[in-house]
Amino acid sequence: MKYTEKKVSVPLCAVSTTPGLVNKTGSWKFAEPLFVDRISPCNQQCPAGEDITGYMYLASQERFEEAWELITEENPFPAIMGRVCFHTCEEQCNRKDHDQAVSIHTVERFIGDYGLSHGLKIDVTEPQKDKKIAVVGAGPGGLSAAFHVRKRGYHVTIFDRDQNPGGLMRYGIPAYRLPKDILDAEIGRLSEMGIEFKMGVTIGKDITWDALNTQFDAVFVAVGAYEETGLRIEGLNKQGIFEALEFLREINLDKKSKAGKNMAVIGGGNSAIDCARVSRRLGAEVTIVYRRGEEEMPAHPEEIAMAKEEGVGFLFLATPTEVYGQEHITGIKVEKMALGEVDDSGRRRPVPTGETFDIDCDGMIIAIGEGTRVDDLPPSVSHKKGVVETDQMGQTTESTLFAGGDIIDIPHTVTHSIGSGKRASIAIDRLLEEVKGEKKSLDQFRWGDKGNISVGRMKGTTLFLRRNPSLEVVDYKDMNPFYFDHRQGMKIDRIPTKKRLKGFQEVIPSPSEQKAVSEARRCFMCGSCTECGNCHIFCPESAIKTDPGGYGYIPDMDYCKGCGICVNECPRGAMEMKFME
C-alpha cells in the first residue's frame, strides 16, 4: 500500500474528541469537604432550647407562621418570651463581635404577637394515649411540662392553688412588662389543646400527694419558690414593710396598694427592679439599696436602665441594719459596705465597714431572693434546703415524680422553668413508653454540650441541622465574617417616661413587621447551611453541586481535589475538611 493511502488513528489536527469529564481528578485529594450542621451559640444558650437560628431564618423570609410553629415546638409562649425572657442568647450572639448582637427577643416577640393576632393554634397530632399526667403548679414550668406531654398525646391535668394559671408570670411580673391579655391568650391556647385546668386546688391540702400518685401515671411538680429569704435585722414587724413577691402579687391582683410615698427597695435582682418600678408607677419616690456595686447587680442591665429612666434612685454598697419608726416605718439605718474577695457567685463579696448613716422612708420592700417553701413539696421528695434533687431530665428520686421550675437547681427565670418542663416531659414520655437505655443518649439532641434538649432535633424537624449534625458550637472565629456587611442593629423603642409613670402600659411597644424582618436578616445563622451558594460559586472544579434531594449542596467526590476553598469561604462555619484514610 502506498503510504499516502494509509490512515492513522487521530484526526487531521488535534481537535478534542472526548469530554474532559473522563479525568476523575477527585483521585488527587487527601482531604474532603463535609457539610456539617453546627450549633449556633444562641441556640446553645437558650434555656428553653429554642431553635433561634431557624426561626430567625424563617422570619427573615417573612415566613412567620412557620417561625411560630418552630418556636412552639420547643416553647409554648413566644409572645410571653419575647417580653419577659432576659435574652441571654443575645449576649452569646456571634454578631456582637462583628457589630452588634441581633435583637433576638424583638423578633421572637413579633412572631409571638403574629401568632396571637392570626389565631395560630397548636395541633396535637400524636395519637391519644391512655396514660394520665398530673402537673402541680400552673407557672411557666408546669405549663411547659403540660404543653409538651399533651403534645405527645397524654391526658394532662394541671392543679394550682391560685384562681388563674400563670404563676409568677401572672402574679410576679408587672403588666408594663407582660400585659395580662397576652398572658391569657397564650395560656388559653393550652386549654384549647385539651389540657385540663383545676384551679384553686392545693395539693397536699385539698388532695393528698398520695391520692395524686394513685390517680395519675406520673406527676410533675413545679410549685415555685415563694419564701422570701429573710433579712435578719431589727424592726421588721412594722407596717409599711413588704416582701417582694407579696407586694407584686397584690399589685397584679389589682388590690389597692399600701405603698408609701418614699420607698426603699432592698436588693439588686430583677424582683427588686420590678418592685421599684411598680412603686414609681404608684407615685412613690424610690431608692434601691444594694449591698454591692452596680456591676455586681444580678438584675438585667436593660431593666436597670429603664428603672433609672423612670427616676429610681440607687444606693450602692449599703445594707440596712435597722428599721426606724413606731408602728410604721419612718426610715432605716444603713451600713456602708466595701467590696472584698470574689465569692462563689463570681462577684466581689460585700464587706461591712462599720460606718452607718440613716435614710428616711415610709415604706420598704425586701427583694433579696426567694426559696422554696418546704411545705409546698410532696413529703416524700428528697431535697436540700428546699431545692429538690433531680437528674438532668427532672426525675426525682421517686421514679414517677418529676420536678421543675424554681424548686430545682436551675436559675430562677421564666425561660429556665419552661426549659425544665420540656425536659421533664421527655423523661415522662420515656418512662411511660418504657424506653430503655441511658438518658445520656438524649444528649445528642441538645443544642451543644451546654444546651437544652430540642424536640425538633429529636424529631429531626429542625429547619437546619439535618446533615451530619454536630454538637460543636460555632464561634465567630470559625466563620467567614467578610460575607456579612456591618449593619447596626435596631434601636428598641420605649414609650416616654412620663407616659410610663402614669400607669402600667407596656413600656416597649410591639415591633413593626419591617423592623422584625430587618433584624432577623441580621442573623448570621451560624453553623447552618442556608444554601448561600458560596461553596458552589467558589469551587474551581465545578464540583459542588446542587443536592438533587432538594436541600443545599453536595460535593462531587469524583472531581473534588480537596482544596478546601469551600470550607474557608463558608460564611457560617457549616463545613469542615476531613482527612481521608
Binding site: 503510504y3 492513522v8 487521530v10 488535534a14 474528541t17
Partner: protein
Amino acid sequence: MRKVLTGNVAVAYGAMLADVQVVPAYPITPQTTIIEELATMQAEGLVDLDYIRVESEHSAMAACIGASMGGARAFTATCGQGLFLMHEMLHYATGARTPVVLANVNRAAAAPWTIWSDQTDSVSQRETGWIQLYCEGNQEVLDTTIMAFKIAETLRLPAMIVLDAFFLSHTSEPIDIPDRETVRDFLPPFDPGDLWLDPNNPRTFGGITMSDAYMEFRWQIQRDMEKAKGVITEVHEEFAKVFGRKYHQVEAYRAEDADVVMVVSGTVASTGRDAIDLLREKGHQVGMIKLKTLRPFPREEIIAVLKGKKKVAIIDRNFSPGATGIWAQEIRSALYELPEGDRPLIYGYIAGLGGRDISVKIIEGIYQKTVKDDRPDDVDMWIGVNYV
C-alpha cells in the same frame, strides 16, 4: 483583460480575484506594494476583505491562522526579515492545518541591511510544512496566487507564493487578468469543513499532545505533502484547461537530448532560456529545468528528466552556510538513488546573492565551467565573488 502590472500588483490581483476575506498585513520593502494595492482595492470596494493593519509580521501570520480557524480565507504578504519573524507561526499554521496563503518576495537576510533579492528567506522555511511555489514572471505570479488557494485549501496545508524582489516585484509586465467569475468557478469559497471554531460545535483545537499521538499528526502532514504533488499537478491542469496557461512543478527546456542540464528557479529561468538558446546556437548539447516547487520536492519528476544525463549544473540563489545551496542539496539527494550509470555528476553554483545580477554571460560561464571540470568541487562554487 490585459494590464501592465508589477509582480507585486499581480499578487494583489490574484488575491483579489481569489476573494480573500481576511488580510492581516504589515509593510516591508519590497513587499509593501502588495498590501498597499490590497488596501486600495478594499477602499475602492473591489474586494470585500477585512484588513487588519497588524503591528508585525508575526502577528500577521498569527491573525491569518486565527482567521483561518474562524473559517475565512486568509492571506498576507511579506519578505526577508518579515518571513524570518513569522517563522514560528509558519510551523503553527501547518500544525493547525490552516490553509493560509502567503506571498513572499524573496529578500536577502540582514545583517548587513539589504533589500535586494535572494532566496535565503524562503528556503530557510523549508521545514515549516509550507507548500512553496516559485514564480518566474508576473503572469505566473498572478496565476500561482489563485492556484495557491486552491492547492492549500484542498490539502489543508499553508502555501507560499515566492517571487524575486525587484526582478518581479517592481518590474512591470503586460499580463492577462482572468475574468472574476471564471476564477470564482475555478476557486469556490473556502469550505473549512468541520475543522474550524464553530460556536455551535464547541471543541478545543491544538491541545497538548503526548508522544502517543504527536507522530500521527506529523505523519499526516507528511502524507498530505506527498499528496500535494498530485494535487498541484491537477490544479495546474485544471487551470490550464480554464485559463489556457500551463504550469509545471518541473519544467524542462531543451533538456531531452542535452548532455548538461542547468537547474534554475524564479526569474533566473527567463535568463536561463536565453543562455540555453545561445549555447544551442553554438552547438552545445545543453538544456535546462525550471523548478517551481521546493516543497513538496518533485523528486520523481526531476529524476525522470535528469536520469542518464552526464552533468547537472544547479544555480542556487541561496546557500546554507557550512553546506551547499538548497536546490543542490535536494537534487543530489534525489538523484542518489539512480544506478551509477544513470546518475549525472552534480555541480552546485552559488550566484546572485543580495540581488547581484545573474546574467546570460554568467550562466554561460557556469556552463563552461561545468563542461570543463571533470569532477565537481567538494563544495559549491561561488560565482562572481571579488576576491583580493
